[in-house]
Every structure is written in structure tokens, then in C-alpha cells.
Amino acid sequence: MTRSFRKIFPLALTGICLLFALSATANAQIYLDINEPQMRRIPLAIPDFVVEATQPSAPAAARQGDQLLREFLAFTGFFNILPPQGYLTDLGRGVTEREIRFSDWTAIGAELLISGRLVDRGGRLSFELRLFDTFANTVIAGRAYTAHPDQVRDVIRRFSAEVIYRLTGTRGVFETQIAFVSTGPGNKEIFFCEFDGNAPSQFTRDSIIALSPAWSSDGRHLAYTAYKDGGPQLYVRDISTRTAWNIAHGSLNITPAWRPGAFEMAATLSLDNNQDIYTLTGNGKIIKRLTKAWDIDVSPAWSPDGKRMAFVSERSGGTHIFVMNADGEQATRLTFSGRENTEPAWSPNGRYIAYTSRVAGRNEIFVMNADGSRPRQLTGGGGDNESASWSPDSTLIAFSSTREGVSRIFVMNANGTAPRRLLVLPGQQSQPAWSPYLAQ
């Protein structure tokens, strides 16, 4: 799936991406500071795309396009997508900054506007898409994509990534996938889906229980835990070739976490009746034992620079999040509230650590600064909420929740707002793992 995902981008869209009318945006303005936790959602209008193309498929492609664009941009949590029924006008006058009367859009509160037009180009459809600052009357981004009617989703994904890049300076989540565990096949197997839950597909089919998917930082390998020969072992699978190998040291091989930028991982093994964290090569050779506590040490989570890791330890009574250097030295306790704090996830921007804490008989997602300060609860209102995983731009958190009864994957903004279910599949879903950027 990832392979096809990668292939589509260079091949399918024949590369005609015209930059037009960008002179006004030469001075890059940051419209959205994604590191601001209480970020205001910018009101954005996306009127229906104008169809000037004569191909019979054009109207349907236009409807799919404007709806997907609204969905994709809403998914980021950055925007308040103004409902189209409240618009004073459509794009009948034209789609360029000379033709649009911006006062029609500022009057309804829109600060940003996206216009779309479909025209014929060499026997195929061309999508012309422009993002405007309605108060400054300027174009922020303009792109044209020539595509087949079945590539609308890829067109919109690329333009959405462009919009987010222009507004935030980061690449957004549109070129990512989420791995997760599903019981749908009758036992736990690992699945992939696109960033928004689209196109779920089963990835593993080789074991009775598969758990804890972990992406390598280059997106090439997935490590996970699977039961083989009666016990939990680590598997590493090349995602494009599907070649896999297993790693077994003793009776327990769990919680793999790839070191950023390296073919190395940390994992918990149980070699002398203690569950301790080790570093291993991607091929499974033990590099170093990092913890030697008498009790459980588990769930390593690397800092994005690969120099430190958060982990779970019982060494001070209760179950708490600690942080230590990559060589195992200088372990420091980070959590002091509650008795059970587990599943640390270090944000890709390095600032935060999300984790799971048991509160009033429920598991809830918390986030704290990476130094342990300012812990705050992100989830609530029903069910167990577990297994936080950050989007690569650190703006969204995927997690599993039983708020609807069975466990499903949800996504929320990094400040805990706007939780939404990612997808519905047979069985129960858990342990989401957000990929790094997968497109080139």
C-alpha cells in the first residue's frame, strides 16, 4: 500500500504544477502557528468548484474535489470551514483575484478562501486551485494539477499539503499513514490506513497475535510484536517488499521503538527475570542493556533527536514515566500524579510527551512538557482512552477509545479538542502508530 502510495505522486499527476500569481506572497507570512496550543481556528470558505471542462466526468470530479478539500482541511483542526449554504455568492464571476469580490467573503467572516476550477487540458482534466487571503486580497498559493478523474483524491491531497505548507511552514499530515491493530480477522493483525482513515488494508497475516506497530523514521520498516513459537517476539518487516525477520531473546520481546535516523531500536526483553530496556540493531543483535532496575521497565519512546528516551518504570513505586539518556544514564522521573502512567509518546517537535494515566478508574490521554512540567488531561467523557501517537507535524494525536463501546481509533487536535473517529471496521481497533512523512 505504501509502495503504491509513493508511486502515485510522481507518476499519476503528470507533474504539471503551475505556480501562478505568487508575487504577492513572496514575503512568507506565518498564518498559523501550529505550536500554539490554543490556536484559533481560521474561518475558511470553500465554494463549489467551477466546471468549465467539457468532459462528462468533470462535474462529478468537481463535486468530489470540493467536498474532499473541505474534509481534508477540516481534518487538520486548523480551520473553521464555513458551511457553503451560508455563502453570499458562488464563483460565477471567476476564480482569480481580479475576478473575486473579496467583500462577499469577508462579509461572512471568511479570512481565507479557496477557489477551484476544472478546465480541459490535453484531453484530461486540469484542476486550478487558489488559496486567498480575503482581507489582504492576495493569493497565498496557486496550483494546477492535470489528472485522470480517478485521481481526484490525490490532487486534493497534494493541494491540501500545499495549503498547510503555505500557512504553517510544515508539511501537514496528508502524506502519512496510520498503522493500527485490529481484531477484525478473528485475531489481532496489523492494518494500515491513510491519514484520514481512508483505504484501510490488512498488513500482517502471519501470526496469532500481532501488537505494537512501530515505524522506522524513514518509513521503510515496521517493527511489531507477534507470537511465534508460543511467545511474543519482535518482527521487522520491510514495508515495500514485505520481507520480514523475527527477533527472539528469551521469553519476552516487546514494545519496539525505532531510534530516529538509525536502523536501531529500543525494546523490552526479559533475560534474567527482569523486564528491561535494551537497544538492538534492526537485525536483532543486542547493542546495550539500558536499564537494570529490579522491576518492570517497558515502552521506550525516543526523543526526536535520538539522544534520550522516555519509558515506563516501576522503580519508584507505582508505574511512572521516566526519561533517560540514550545510553541508559541519568534516569529522571517525570510523572508524579496518580499511580499508573504508561505509554509515553514523544512529540516529533520535541516539546511534549503524551502518555496514558489512570484517572477515576479510566485510562485517559495526558500531555506534559518534555521536562515533565504542566501535565494536563486531553481526553474525558467516557470509555478508556489509550495509546497516543503523534502526527509527524505534532498537531494531531491518534489514540484508541472505547467511548462508543468497542475500541476504535480516534484523532484529536494536540490540545485535546475536536476528537473524531477515524474509521469503522469489523472487530476492535487499538494501538495506532502514525507514520512519518511517506512521500518523497
Binding site: 489481532k188 511474543p232 521469553s251 519476552l252 518492570i296 499508573e340 504508561t342 495509546s387 494501538q431
Partner: protein, 192 residues
């Protein structure tokens, strides 16, 4: 005379029946006899089949006794194995300490392992659903290791005991109640 003939017929029938019984019973000797029969040393001695020679009443009786003893041992092993595999030990929430009730059961496990010195076992550690999944995998391992250590302290060779953690993956009871959680925090024991 007729009475003697009658006796002979009965003896022959008994011998044929015994032949069946012993051949069934002896069969496991070729393969995994220790696991099948549990008691290794006594079964090493093959049951002699005298073949063409007319069996005497004494010989039949001896074979019969031996076969019966073997059967009894097998039946006893099966009963012991069933008890061994049925009785599980339970734990307090988020703990891997062997509580007194569990210690009593483990003492019986140790006695079983001493009675059948060739038996190897698997200890499965399980957790309730309340902790998070990864932590529970470690906790399940810790519980299995705690049970193993207890048995090793009572003289059982650690090489005979394998452990596996299933974390919260295989609950006995799926409900989210105190009762179900208490049952799910357990070690199960399997003869391998």
C-alpha cells in the same frame, strides 16, 4: 475335563484381551513415553510377549498386573495432569507477588513436578484489562516468572519450566467487572 476346557477358553480370551490392552499401553514407550505415562523408570521394562509358548496362569497374572499397573499410572497421571492444568493461581491488582492461596496451589504444582520428573511445563501469565496493553505484557511475564521462581525455590529444575506472557490478550472472562478482573489476573499451567 470339560471344566478344564472351559477354563482354558477363558484364559485364552483373557490373554487375547490382555494382548490388546498391553499393546495399547506399551505403545507410547517408543515415542514420548515420559509425557504419555508420566512415570518413566517403571515403564522402561518391556512387557514380554511370549508368543508361541503356551502361557501359564502365573505369567498371565503377572502381565495382567503389570498392564493394570501401567494403566493405573496412566490414569493417575491424567488425573494429576488435569488437576495441574485446571488449577490456576491468581494475583492482586497490578501485582506479581505470590499470595498465600496461590502458594498452596503452587506447592501442589511442585509435588506434581517431583512425582513426574520428566514432565516439562509452560506457565502462562495473564492480566486484567485495566492496565495498558504494553505494561500488561511485562506484568504477565513477571507473574509467570514469579510462579516459576516459587517452583524453582522448591527444587524444580528451571529448565523444565517455560514462561509466556499473554498480557491482557486472553481473558478468561470478557466482562469489565471486579469479579472478571480477579479471575483474569492469573497464571495458567500446561504440561508440554
Amino acid at each position: 475335563m470339560q471344566k478344564h476346557w472351559g477354563m482354558a477358553v477363558i484364559l485364552i480370551l483373557a490373554f487375547v484381551a490382555l494382548g490388546f490392552t498391553t499393546s495399547c499401553a506399551v505403545k507410547p514407550q517408543a515415542g514420548a513415553k515420559a509425557v504419555e505415562c508420566g512415570v518413566a523408570p517403571e515403564t522402561d521394562e518391556p512387557v514380554r510377549m511370549t508368543g508361541t509358548a503356551q502361557p501359564t496362569a502365573e505369567a498371565i497374572s503377572e502381565q495382567e498386573l503389570r498392564a493394570q499397573a501401567l494403566l493405573a499410572r496412566q490414569q493417575q497421571f491424567r488425573m494429576d495432569q488435569e488437576l495441574f492444568e485446571t488449577e490456576m493461581i491468581h494475583f492482586e491488582f497490578d501485582r506479581s507477588v505470590i499470595i498465600p492461596a496461590a502458594a498452596q496451589i503452587l506447592n501442589r504444582k511442585a509435588a506434581f513436578l517431583k512425582k513426574y520428573p520428566d514432565v516439562r511445563i509452560l506457565v502462562e501469565g495473564h492480566c486484567d484489562e485495566r492496565g495498558t496493553l504494553e505494561y500488561n505484557l511485562a506484568l504477565g511475564e513477571r507473574r509467570a516468572q514469579a510462579a516459576k521462581s516459587y517452583l524453582v525455590d522448591r527444587g524444580i529444575d528451571p529448565k523444565r519450566i517455560q514462561t509466556v506472557s499473554y498480557g491482557e490478550e486472553r481473558p478468561m472472562r470478557p466482562e469489565s467487572t471486579e469479579e472478571a478482573w480477579a479471575l483474569n489476573r492469573r497464571c495458567e499451567f500446561r504440561v508440554q
